[in-house]
Symmetry: C2
Subunit: 212 residues, 2 copies
DNA sequence: TAGATTGTTAATCGATTAACAATC
DNA sequence: TAGATTGTTAATCGATTAACAATC
């Protein structure tokens, strides 16, 4: 398989295919067609086929794709098979919820530790260490961490972001509802609840109006 | 101002403008230009101008937009000024973090209560009630709730989703990492962590490869 | 063979960007 | 007036969809 340049829109759909494929019971058919996948996820079948073409080499006409193989290919493409170490800054409610969420391992994400300006405990219920923010530097150097998760209040996010970059972080998952200024080689992925809410409440407004 | 049809992409950018405008200190200039906004958020200025044109009626050439007015217009457009009531299903870690997060009020979202198949407490630390899932129906009827937040494990999400729809919910904020099948008049907004992670880890893979 | 499916090439659609006229 | 800015019209770009040939 030749690895072509992949667009962000395709990339964002891949986890959906993967999770659906994985959710199929053990005894399911060995092969699955793009048509079946598309129907299950409410998408166009051509789109599914094109997306799959990016990550695996070929289904078989009239039969479809080898399910197990497809799972493997997508997982590998998304890097789920080799884990990424990350640290989390801001051990508040949201931060602790993320620390406690066991599900990230399935995505190859391993949160090593949390940092906070005023740690309330030495570790979480699950045993993940919570350090004072002053330990950030030495920890990053020692563990060669590349991903940082920001769950501090918006007010402090930019400053924390800068600290992360200074310590070698290359990718930032930002839960703070604010824009972060970063150099072009650093990637910020905003988990923006406000954005989702905007879409939802616009839909409700339209529905309410319609009813009148 | 004539309310035109707004695209999702524009809609998703509006909260960003709003939060930046609100973050400006009290004593800031009365007017702000699209150019200034664009620079601050790292966007194209034409795009900002076009977006703003959707929600407010006109800035003044050479001067810009009235900052206060812009905040008001975007807030109103996004429906932040009239609150939406919501209920949350699944009072696990993530559910409780969302229940406890005070910031949603600023977005006009009011989570009335949580429901769970096995409630571990009668209410959260913050005093939000946690009911048994069997109470869902009567609660929805009594309070005319239109938005539901799903924070149950993926396995149960579709079933919970159906219950919500049966009880009159029109918009669903889905935190479960799974696809939900719904009728076309119901909106599902997926808060998909896997999607974000895919983008982030792809970036890291590219960086690591580059280094070699 | 007929039919279901894949994969590719072309057409469409929508969103972003560029160019420019209008305004203060 | 000159220059900064707005808002609009046209061009570009990218992604989705449609049409179709290839395959088993």
């Amino acid at each position: 398989m030749e690895r072509k340049e992949i667009s962000k829109s395709v990339l964002k759909r891949l986890p959906g295919y993967l999770s659906y494929l994985k959710s199929l019971p053990e005894g399911s058919a060995t092969y699955i067609s793009a048509t079946a996948l598309a129907n299950a996820l409410g998408m166009g079948e051509v789109q599914v086929r094109k997306d799959l073409a990016m990550v695996c080499d070929g289904g078989r006409p009239k039969i479809g794709y080898l399910r197990e193989r497809l799972i493997e290919d997508i997982s590998q493409f998304l890097g789920y098979d080799n884990t990424t170490d990350a640290i989390l800054i801001g051990a508040g409610k949201l931060g602790q919820a993320l620390l406690g969420y066991g599900g990230f391992e399935a995505y190859g994400l391993n949160i090593l530790a949390a940092f906070d300006a005023a740690p309330i405990a030495e570790q979480t219920q699950e045993g993940k260490p919570i350090y004072h923010i002053s330990q950030l530097e030495s920890f990053c150097r020692a563990n060669n961490v590349l991903m940082g998760i920001i769950t501090v209040p918006a007010m402090h996010a930019q400053q924390v972001c800068q600290q992360l970059i200074d310590n070698g972080i290359k990718a930032i998952w930002n839960f703070a509802p604010t824009h972060l200024d970063v150099p072009s080689n650093i990637l910020v992925q905003n988990e923006n609840m406000a954005t989702s809410l905007a879409v939802l409440s616009m839909h409700l407004q339209a529905q309410i109006k319609e009813k009148k």
